[in-house]
Symmetry: C2
Subunit: 386 residues, 2 copies
């Protein structure tokens, strides 16, 4: 943990030290050699490492460990290091860029939650079309027990998380800043909901770290590595989502992209990924499932176990709903009652006039109460009279 | 020609006879052996051919050749058979399904017009999005001297032809019925315009033949074969355009497909073609040009020659325009004047409120009058004061 606080994410020299000497011994080594280096005494630091060691050592002297622990405790975060039981082993595929330590809020068993996972990423400035697709695909994946991994940002990221939350499914958000601050602030309620409902908010940066541009790019490698596949829903040609896509490709993880109108700037990145053969065109959740389970190799029981765990977390806190939610639930109930067959999110949005995200939240609530369910092709009310 | 009138398009037994014996001798053979077969006398018709020969012979006896010639002359059609100077040799790639004869209205040098050609096909029940893309891509291709080949139908076909007409470029429509009837009737004016402006309307069916379903499917192979590449703009999963796409693939011609919203039924066929790897995703005309000229191997001068020929044909007939057209031209002129840079078809449609097809027709008229031109990225008024 201390190492993670004095280095930048993905600093391969530090990672190599920790991986070779172990966290404890390498930290001892840093304190000793850093002190000797600074005081001008004899030291055993190779010339190529001296600048880094000086920087790390200066950082290390300023760490207020008790303060860090207080900050972590105050937000209910925990640390995970490689080898811990909750450690997501998929991140080890990052090899010399693997994280040294993760801070986790919410479900501490990150390995179990992310066992079957898909990264859904895309533009912050997403269109209604993209937000709708991200929400619907995520809802469909999450309802099959596949965790949705994203970056907690506006636009596609938020729609992906909310889609999963809406069906009571697992979702994981990787932050680019310190674990003590939910960023962006406007998504704080959503990030809190992720933690409360069986998912997790994760960062490799300790308390107080700012979300810098370089940290966003480094963060993207974690999203790509935790997903068994990555799907880009909408992305401009030069965008963070495209960098995540490249990370997924370099990890030899399957990559999907959702097509859209060729007139839309934020579909241009997706089309480029498909044109170049880097990504497979995916137009519905089933296509994504095929990327993750090409041979249908995850038995249904596995998904059931994951879902049961998450649903258990979800069903516990059933406080009285706010008025707007009660009203919205009535509207959605009528919309579902008016049709015999399953109703898609888009149809619900069209009929009720609610926003996609709101509709998903309401459907999630109705499902949590056992009133509605997703049956293959759409949402349906559960007929309690039968 | 007589053979083509007694057989169905692509009847491989008849084609084999003609290809082996030559048109004249095989026709003599049919008349002689058909007569002997019918009258119960000695004949040399293999058992496997007897039913076909009887049918062809019965047809042949009913042909009113002078009547056929009158019908052809009355609509100004000409016949082309393999070996004629205007014969499009690309159709010979169809091998045992190559047409025996083509009826052509408009430009009789079909080989020259189609030397560089792209087939643009798609749904009759196209969306505004698809019509816009087909029109814009066709306009862009045709303005580079690439002929646009399609089926003259509603929706994408018509938008493709009109896109080419709009920039005074060459376009070719293959009919599924007899050459004497413009089908569908509602597109008759467009088909007539194609013939008048250097393009051609073509059928392998003689006068009087009805556009049957089976003939549409057979017709599609001609569209695919004449195009150096085929592009599907919008298509349902089971549709004629998908059959054209398969024909293009089996001819080892490059195939492109335009993506669209995954929520659109008529983009589902395109997405399936891309997903399966059968088609390349194309989002603008340049992508199509890359399919046709992967090494940029057609010199600019070739395109210039083709365009010069077509433009020559186009500029001649300049009768007085109908009132609606004069009005529409005023509206489009103002729209172009309001912007300094090139204006896309979509922007013109948005600003003027005219339909896409109308806008294209009006722009074509303005271009024919030397008032407007397409410059790389959009339409512009030609400043006559400079």
């Amino acid at each position: 943990m201390s190492w993670a606080m004095v280095t930048e994410p993905g600093e391969i020299r530090a990672i190599a030290l920790v991986q070779q000497l172990g966290a404890m011994d390498s930290w001892e080594w840093l304190r000793e050699q850093g002190h000797r280096l600074e005081s001008g005494g004899n030291h055993h630091v190779p010339a190529s490492l001296r600048r880094s060691v000086k920087r790390w050592y200066e950082h290390a002297r300023t760490i207020d460990l008790p303060g860090v622990h207080r900050a972590i405790e105050s937000v209910g975060a925990r640390t995970l290091v490689p080898g811990d039981s909750g450690w997501p082993v998929k991140l080890d595929d990052l090899a010399d860029e693997a994280p040294l330590c993760l801070w986790v809020r919410g479900n501490p068993d990150l390995g179990a939650v992310s066992r079957s996972a898909v990264a859904i990423v895309g533009a912050r400035a997403a269109t209604a079309y993209g937000v709708g697709r991200a929400g619907e695909m995520s809802a469909d994946l999450a309802s099959q027990g596949i965790a949705v991994v994203s970056g907690g940002a506006f636009g596609i990221d938020a729609a992906a998380h909310r889609g999963a939350l809406g069906v009571g499914g697992p979702t994981i958000a990787f932050l680019a800043g310190g674990i003590d601050q939910f960023y962006p602030r406007a998504n704080a309620a959503m990030l809190a909901a992720i933690c409360e409902r069986g998912g997790a908010v994760v960062s490799e940066l300790g308390p107080g770290a700012q979300p810098l541009r370089s940290r966003f790019l480094k963060r993207n490698r974690l999203i790509a590595a935790l997903g068994d596949a990555t799907v880009v829903v909408e992305a401009g040609l030069r965008s963070g989502a495209m960098s995540t896509a490249r990370q997924a490709s370099s990890l030899v993880r399957p990559l999907g992209a959702v097509p859209g109108p060729v007139t839309s700037r934020v579909s241009a990145g997706c089309h480029e990924l498909i044109r170049s053969g880097m990504a497979v065109l995916v137009s519905r959740a089933q296509h994504i499932v095929e990327l993750v389970r090409p041979f249908g190799d995850l038995a249904a029981s596995d998904a059931d176990i994951v879902m049961a765990g998450v649903q258990g977390e979800l069903r516990e806190p059933q406080e009285s709903a706010p008025t707007w939610l009660t009203d919205a639930m009535d509207v959605v109930r009528s919309a579902l009652r008016a049709r015999r067959r399953g109703v898609s999110i888009d149809e619900i949005v069209e009929v009720t006039g609610l926003a996609t995200n709101t509709s998903l939240a309401v459907l999630g609530e109705l499902e949590a109460r056992g009133e509605a369910t997703w049956r293959g092709r759409g949402w349906e009310l559960i007929d309690s009279s039968r």
